[in-house]
Amino acid sequence: MPNATLILLIILLPLAGFVMLGIYGRKYFQNTSGIIGTTLMLISTVLALYTAYGYFFEYVKVDGVYQPLVPLKYTWLQFSDGVSIDMGIIIDPISVMMLVVVTFISLMVHIYSLGYMKGDERFPTYYAFLGLFTFSMLGLVISSNIFQIYIFWELVGVSSFLLIGYYYDKPSAVAACKKAFIVTRFADVGFLIGILILSFYSRTLDFNTLIERLTSAESTEFKSAVAASFMGISALTWGLVLVFIGGAGKSAMFPLHIWLPDAMEGPTPVSALIHAATMVVAGVFLVARLFPVFAISAPNALSLVGYVGAISALIAAIIACTQTDIKRVLAYSTMSQIGYMMFALGVSKYGGEDGLGYTASMFHLFTHAMFKALLFLGAGAVIHYIHSNEMKDMGGLRKYLPITHITFLIACLAIAGVPPFAGFFSKEEILLAAYQNNTAVYWIALITSGLTAFYMFRLYFGIFWNKEAHAHGEHKNEGGFAMMIPLVLLAVGASAAGFIPFGHFVSSDRTRLETEFHLMFSIAPVALGLAGIFIAMWMYKKQNDRPDKLAASLNGLYKSAYHKFYIDEIYIFITRKIIFNLIGKPAAWFDKNVVDGLMNATGNSTKDISETIKGFQSGKVQSYAIYFLVSIIGLALLFIYIWK
């Protein structure tokens, strides 16, 4: 049995860092805060690894199944009977896997930032926010309660907001953090309503109970959830779709992805941690967490997940080919890769061999975390050196940044799916799963994998080859050990992670899943990947006019891809023109003129009446007498003849 205190410690150490550095950082720890944060993170990471080891290897499986354990559960907020928000810890394969990933990547970023952020005025604040994020993310992955996950979900969102807006005096950063928060918030409403639906029918918020109740066809909860329908779709499906919308928002799935590229305004290590390796995969994690319900009870919802993932993967890949800001390229690439994970889940089924997609998805999540973090950190090193994000400012940097160059190359190979790097294995499994279940998705995935190789190497060649570099910046080094160590460690991970027999540990029904390697099947994707690489090399290794020509020949597509398919513009249209002008302004106007106007009019008309009737008080004593008599006559008539 894993030790609850230890796991709690994993989570709370970063929080302690946040509180300490957040309150006292600028007073007492201006320079030492990085060390403090990193040390706490290191302890956390070690504990996480220890826990993972304990769970996967020491703990005895029951009938070959890894049992989900809940070593801690505390009723946090009781609603009606049975429905309560519990703060708990769930330990099962995916949460343990995520614990490792999050702590490890976070540690890398902590270390890297020691160099990258050195000398920054708000250094302690930065580490405090990192601590907050790590805490929230860890809390998210170990949540035992669907509301608990929502809570940490929001916290993750806010720490992301804080970190994107870290350079708060840059207007673009401010805009980006706002956008990120609001878009994900919008998706979260879906999540929230989904939770409400699920919890209402299952009469619980606890994950285990919920899954148990909604997957067994006999339970009354399941029956009622399926029986109730809205617009011809069962309540259960609605609930799951809405939950998925939440996940899609956080994971930047089409069409809720628009915040992710802008989020690159944050410090690059932050992008590596949050917007590449951990937070953005929360959506995938969420779907995986509820996977049994999706797969068993609502296949429609699951196939929606698949299609959304596939489309996102393709669109992002196309856009990535045209972007010139290296972080944005990486951002779109992230989106594309998460699309992979999503559709892998989407094409999966529950249990046994059919659950390959699930395993593949988680595997890809794991490997992607390594190589994408690596890519970002590498890009960070480049930016650190060059002080620009634009590809046009770069070129020929391999001489100046040798370690970065090598590690970046490894990462690129990994993401392009070139064996034997990590990405190859996970992607292969995904394609296989897609092939077995859904051909349309398979083809999209295949095309995407070619595109991936192309744009990654476009990036690689653009940065490190292409035109000759001229002297840049004032640092003539790569940023010291602090920045190099994480690169190297991650490069090792990106190279070697593929050899982990992932299916043994993580599978849809938590049994051992043997994944086979089909040589014949791999030929197509690998060949496609290599083709992509060569085209990129042909176009970008040396400075030439081929890219421009190609762009010109594909004018329409290129232009729309360059403008990200105008999705941002559509959003702006909706928010500015429709919500602001057609709802907000009228509401404000209505309030000021109609509602308020009515109240004021009541007051004014009282005054007006008062002014009009002043004539009665004419000052003429005879008129008074006349009114007197007339009133008497009137009253007499009224009470004698009318109101008896």
């Binding site: 009606s80 809570i151 708060y168 401010v174 409403v189 929230l192 907000g584 509401a587 007051g603």
Partner: protein, 493 residues
């Protein structure tokens, strides 16, 4: 514990303030009074919990009755349940913070603090009274100090706002009065005693007439659409502490009244009118949120957002489930703390920048990290960030509302949920524009918070976080009370 202490203490403080000669003494007396209230509120909380833990299951604890106008069936009947205790705590928090942020008031200091303390007296009295008459008495006591606070120490079109506020609130209480008299004469026995009245069966006919009167009457206090128009003007014109009291305490009087008087005494009426309440509160929530989006003045932003947030209170009440009712009370507490803090922060910013226009500010984080951090916290609380009180309250309302199984309530709940996006939009717009971006020229020499401001802010933040992190204590406090209120109401399953 003797509940009349809660009335006597502010009364004593107020009298001592009147006797004081100079401003410094006045301030310290006020602070001491507020601190004692604070302590007293906690003593109440702990003794209450102790009693409950000892198995005292009486509906109301610490009941005391003094004879007062016995010929009318009026008695000075005091008592608290968990809901009242929660509201008293809220009041204590806001009062002490309000006194602290008013430390720099120089104009008629004595009168200012006198009125503040008088307001707190009204609020405490309202929350602990178990007799409709004295409840009404305290409700009205709290109106005039507000009027004077806005009219004398306010800014902008203060006289207009003060008038509007006083008249609308008095209008509300006039309706309350009529409804109250309706109940008084309807039963077999003429009584103003809440406990006694709750035992009597008020006829359906009476309920149909009196429930809307009472609900709308109290609703005016808590910004029921379309009677919310005093809120923006009143809040924005009031001095800082005035806004804090207004939004933090005064608006809660209405919510509490809707719950304790209207719904508790007239369950059938509540059921009949639930649909209308829900519609109005959803309108208030969304419409308030959208209207907030268009505001340019920080105080207006918070005032309109209060309309939206108080809509949740009414929604919770209108949904008539135990959980939603609990949520409504939580929202009252949470919104009280949060909005008081928000106004405090706005006041602090205004004192330094002399503007409240969002467009005229920028990058303040650089000059006043403390104040702006608080602004962030309160903004995040407002948009419902977990770990802060707003989240807990709103979620309880949502979950509670969802327990209502018909489609109408479902749609209403979903619409209400949508508001959290809009909230995020306007809060972030305001906060980011104020705090982030390049520093506006002319603001280079601004200073950060002083000790009193820090203390005030920290007290309220502590409250917000205490609820946000450990909502269970508040939930345990409120839920039994809400359950009793819901006893007579059956929702169709």
């Amino acid at each position: 514990m003797n509940l009349s202490l809660l009335i006597l203490l502010p009364l004593l403080t107020a009298i001592i303030i009147l006797l004081m000669r100079n401003a410094a003494q006045v301030k310290w007396v006020a602070l001491a009074g507020a601190a004692l209230q604070f302590v007293l509120a906690f003593v109440l909380l702990f003794t209450f919990r102790e009693q409950r833990a000892d198995g005292n299951t009486a509906q109301m604890l610490f009941e005391t009755t003094y004879n007062w106008f016995p010929s009318w069936g009026i008695s000075f009947h005091l008592g608290v349940d968990g809901i009242s205790v929660a509201m008293i705590l809220l009041t204590a928090f806001v009062v002490i913070a309000g006194v602290l942020v008013s430390w720099n008031v120089t104009k008629m200091t004595k009168e200012f603090f006198f009125l503040l303390i008088l307001l707190s007296l009204g609020a405490y009295g309202f929350f602990i009274s178990l007799d409709l008459f004295i409840l009404f008495f305290f409700l009205e006591i709290a109106v005039i100090p507000k009027y004077l606070l806005i009219g004398i120490w306010g800014s902008g079109k203060k006289e207009y706002s003060a008038n509007k506020l006083a008249l609308m609130l008095m209008g509300g209480s006039a309706l309350v009065l009529v409804g109250m008299l309706g109940i008084y004469f309807s039963g077999a026995e003429r009584s103003f005693d809440l406990m006694k009245l709750s035992q009597l069966n008020i006829s359906y006919q009476t309920q149909m007439i009196c429930f809307p009167l009472l609900f709308v009457g109290f609703g005016v206090f808590t910004a029921l659409f379309p009677f919310h128009t005093w809120v923006p003007d009143g809040h924005s014109s009031a001095p800082t502490a005035g806004s804090m009291f207004l939004a933090g305490i005064s608006m809660k009087l209405g919510g509490y009244g809707c719950l304790r008087v209207a719904t508790y005494l007239m369950p059938e009426g509540a059921q009949e009118y639930a649909t209308i309440i829900i519609v109005l509160s959803v309108i208030a929530i969304l419409y308030g949120a959208f209207a907030t989006m268009m505001q340019k003045d920080l105080k207006y932003i918070n005032a309109y957002s209060s309309v939206s947030h108080c809509g949740f209170v009414l929604l919770g009440i209108g949904m008539l489930t135990k959980t939603s009712m609990t949520g409504a009370v939580m929202q009252m507490v949470s919104h009280g703390l949060m909005t008081a803090l928000f106004f405090a922060v706005i006041g602090m910013i205004y004192e330094r920048t002399h503007t409240r226009q969002v467009s005229e500010m920028g990058g303040l984080l650089k000059r006043m990290p403390f104040i702006i951090s608080i602004l962030f916290i309160v903004g995040l609380c407002s948009l419902g960030l977990p770990g802060l009180s707003g989240f807990v309250a709103e979620m309880t309302v949502f979950v509670g509302s969802w327990e209502h199984p018909d489609t109408f309530s479902r749609v209403a709940t979903i619409l209400a949920c949508l508001s959290i996006v809009v909230t995020a939009v306007y809060i972030l717009r305001a906060v980011t524009k104020t705090a982030m971006g390049p520093l506006t020229t002319g603001f280079e020499n601004l200073s950060d918070a002083t000790w009193n401001e820090k203390l005030a802010a920290l007290i309220l933040v502590a409250g917000i976080i205490a609820i946000g992190i450990a909502p269970f204590w508040l939930n345990d406090l409120i839920r039994p009370g809400a359950e009793i209120i819901m006893q007579k109401i059956s929702i169709p399953k």
